[in-house]
């Protein structure tokens, strides 16, 4: 570096605009709204996009159009992509540690690797051949249920988000995620990880904004097949469940969650259908 005359001037940071993630692109909210996000000490960190019901609508359209290809991708391929997401996140450990802490980031990466491994094993564990009493070969297989609405937990902002999202897409569903209202920034940055991980656009759509405003639209949307209410407030859950009943959505209301424990099969099984096939046996 050359010695320059004059006083040293601090470099001016380039700050990031936090936007939505829909259909593989990063749009602002169609409403043009944003809301301030504060650190625990009250200082302003950034303004996040405040999604509207129309953004929910657009996100569902994107998720639906991505469903055909993602659900019919080979399980091997989905596993590779989930693993790729873990690799990309590993490369940005420091950035994410600044939102939360290193242990949280490490646990998140390991969780993605965990689900990457499930992609081509889940059907082997829950599928079956059925020894029916007759000359028929019958088997039962899990299939993704479709578009899943996910209300991400408020805490832990990164591990919680990935722990609810990864199982949804592992089995071939596509997702519309409402990020934690008070901690939306890790979610937006995580969308950047997704966008650089060979994950097809539209498989995951991520909205930031006010949960109480958006969740009812998601719960009532007739082209959403299931909804995860993990991040919905206890008081809102019953209303959302009633709205979800309109098109018989599958609803996941978890009991208390230990985010650090082995997640088991619960979340994978919440958003699959079982299909049984019969075929005669005879020459």
């Amino acid at each position: 570096m050359s010695k320059s005359a004059g006083a040293k001037v601090a470099r001016i940071d380039v700050r990031k605009t936090y936007k939505l993630y829909v259909g593989g692109a990063f749009p602002r909210s169609e409403s043009g709204r944003a809301y301030p996000v504060h650190a625990p000490d009250g200082t302003l960190i950034a303004h996040a996009a405040q999604a509207s019901r129309k953004d929910v609508r657009d996100a569902v359209v994107a998720a639906r159009s991505a469903f055909g290809k993602w659900s019919s991708a080979t399980a091997y391929n989905r596993g590779q992509i989930l693993y790729r997401i873990a690799e990309m996140l590993e490369g940005r450990r420091e950035q994410f540690a600044s939102y939360t802490d290193e242990a949280d980031v490490d646990a998140t990466i390991d969780r993605l690797v965990h689900y990457a491994g499930w992609a081509d094993k889940y059907a082997q564990v829950v599928g079956s051949t059925n020894p029916v009493a007759g000359p028929y070969f019958t088997f039962s297989l899990p299939e993704p249920t479709g578009v899943v609405g996910v209300i991400a937990p408020q805490e832990p902002s990164l591990l919680g988000l990935v722990s609810v999202l990864a199982p949804v897409i592992t089995t071939g569903n596509t997702a519309v995620v409402l990020a934690a209202q008070d901690h939306p920034l890790p979610a937006v940055s995580f969308a950047e990880v997704l966008a650089t991980s060979d994950l097809p656009g539209g498989v995951v759509n991520l909205l930031t904004g006010f949960t109480d405003e958006l969740a009812p639209w998601l719960a009532a949307h007739r082209d959403v097949n299931a909804i995860d209410l993990t991040g919905a407030s206890t008081s809102a859950r019953t209303t959302l469940q009633i709205a979800a009943a309109d098109n018989v959505k599958r609803v996941l209301i978890p009991r208390s969650v230990d985010w650090s424990a082995d997640p088991g099969l619960t979340r994978l099984s919440a958003f699959v259908e079982t299909k049984t096939v019969w075929h005669p046996i005879g020459v």
Partner: protein, 476 residues
């Protein structure tokens, strides 16, 4: 003017051949106590590299290292962490795919098209698949927390050198075992490069040990007191010897042995695809495949038509240099194997079967054998009974489904079989009655890490691949 494809050779330099290769024990490369041998390129009989073979003392060192690793860091590690090592290996194989493919074709003689499109990607996929099991063993159907066996001795053949190493190592490590692996004497190179990959992946020393060597080293592994499990892929004769050797020792064993698979074609089969399947079934890897569809059983009503189509198709097969990207059929792996193929085909002619090969110019040097079809074969012929392990198809006919099943099962082997028909219920019915561990319907020679593979009868026991493959490495 006919469309002659110009040579399209893959560059030999991609293999990054070294003048010499060492064995891998306790995380370190070293010269073996045995003599150094030259591994040769079967396509031209030129030496490729020198390999320091292991001696009996190396086997002991390797087993001790494996035991230390098993008792030490490997058992203490969580499944998730073990899995991450396996993911690393999978990724490294993917990254070095082209190098490994060229190396494999040089050492084995198989066409680069196969090593590039089948052997190497499937090997990586095996590591990837079993990596994901390491932290999920409690879901595999063997109880809530199944335990590994300990030190596994693994002996693999020369027909799919890297892929067989992956089939053996990946499930063993996923389940928490440590391994001592011996590649075949004629094809040690890709396994020793895999050792490099394993070293670069920073696996704890001793978790994987790889010894080059011949039958004596294999025997030393089988006989070693501190080996808990033997996994062997190879000939039925050696498999029987291993089974006798371990009798009374309490060692676990899985055997994947020979085969004489029937490929059954019914008169309603999708003929063009059946022809492809027959070709793939017996000429894939020059027929040096234990599950090769070496017996074609065709329904008499379509036999002439099918054989005609088959011959026409075989006339388009390109036999030649393994590194040419347009080669379909490469070199036979060794002089010994070529001699066996020649002997059995001579027997076939002497027994009265009709021999046919498409016109093809075979290179002067190297071990080559033209794709060959025998018609007028009967069940009593040796070419209908003995595993030839070469590009030789024996054609038999049948009239009814019962006859097809009876002929297909009329062998001491029971590894695989094929069924070709457009009728789904017939597929299931015939599959139910075939005494074979893998049945392909309207396809043949498909391999996937999620799908268990292994034999009935003298084709061995135990399964590799899939959830079932875990059972071969767990104390269940």
């Amino acid at each position: 003017m006919p469309f002659d494809y110009a040579p399209a050779p893959e560059s030999r330099d991609l293999a990054r051949l070294k003048p010499s290769y060492q064995i891998f024990i306790d995380g370190k490369f070293r010269d073996g106590a045995g003599e150094a041998i030259k591994t040769i390129n079967p396509a031209d009989e030129e030496p490729l590299a020198e390999v320091a073979e292991a001696g009996p003392s190396d086997v002991d060192d390797a087993v001790r290292a494996a035991r230390r690793a098993f008792d030490g860091p490997w058992s203490a590690m969580s499944g998730a962490e073990r899995g991450k090592y396996l993911f690393r290996i999978a990724r490294a194989i993917q990254e070095r795919g082209r190098e490994l493919a060229v190396l494999e074709s040089l050492d084995n003689g198989k066409p680069i098209r196969e090593s590039r499109d089948v052997d190497i990607p499937t090997a990586a996929a095996h590591f990837f698949y079993y990596a994901g099991w390491a932290d999920k063993l409690g879901h595999a159907g063997f109880g809530p927390s199944p335990k590994p066996l300990g030190v596994a001795g693994q002996i693999i053949p020369w027909n799919f050198p890297l892929l067989m190493a992956a089939w053996k190592i990946a499930p063993a490590l996923a389940c928490g075992n440590t391994v001592v692996l011996k590649p075949a004497e004629t094809t040690p190179l890709s396994a020793l490069v895999l050792a490099e990959i394993i070293a670069e992946a920073d696996l704890p020393p001793g978790v994987v040990n790889i010894l080059a060597g011949g039958p004596a080293i294999g025997q030393a592994i089988v006989e070693h007191d501190d080996v808990d499990k033997i996994a062997f892929t190879g000939s039925t004769d050696v498999g029987k010897t291993i089974a006798r050797t371990i009798a009374g020792t309490g060692k676990r064993v899985t055997l994947e042995l020979g085969g004489k698979a029937a490929n059954i074609v019914f008169d309603d089969a999708p003929i063009d695809q059946a022809v492809e399947g027959i070709v793939n079934g017996i000429f894939f890897n020059q027929g040096q495949v234990c599950c090769a569809g070496s017996r074609l059983l065709v329904q008499e009503s379509i036999a002439d038509e099918l054989i005609e189509s088959l011959k026409r198709r075989l006339s388009t097969l390109r036999v030649g240099h393994p590194l040419d990207k347009n080669t379909d059929v490469g070199a036979i792996n060794s002089a010994a194997q070529l001699a066996r193929i020649r002997e059995l085909t001579d027997v076939g002619e002497a027994e009265g079967a009709t021999r046919w090969s498409p016109p093809c110019d075979l290179p002067e040097r190297g071990y080559w054998f033209a794709p060959t079809v025998f018609t007028d074969v009967s069940q009593a012929h040796r070419i209908a009974q003995d595993e030839i392990f070469g590009p030789i198809l024996s054609v038999l006919t049948f009239r009814t489904p019962d006859e097809a099943v009876a002929k297909a099962n009329n062998t001491p082997y029971g590894l695989s079989a094929g069924i070709w028909t457009d009728k789904g219920s017939r597929i299931l019915s015939i599959a139910n009655r075939l005494r074979a561990g893998v049945v392909w319907a309207n396809t043949f020679n498909r391999f996937d890490p999620t799908a268990p593979f292994g034999g009935y009868k003298e084709s061995g026991f135990g399964r590799e691949g899939g959830r079932h493959g875990l059972g071969s490495y767990l104390d269940v």
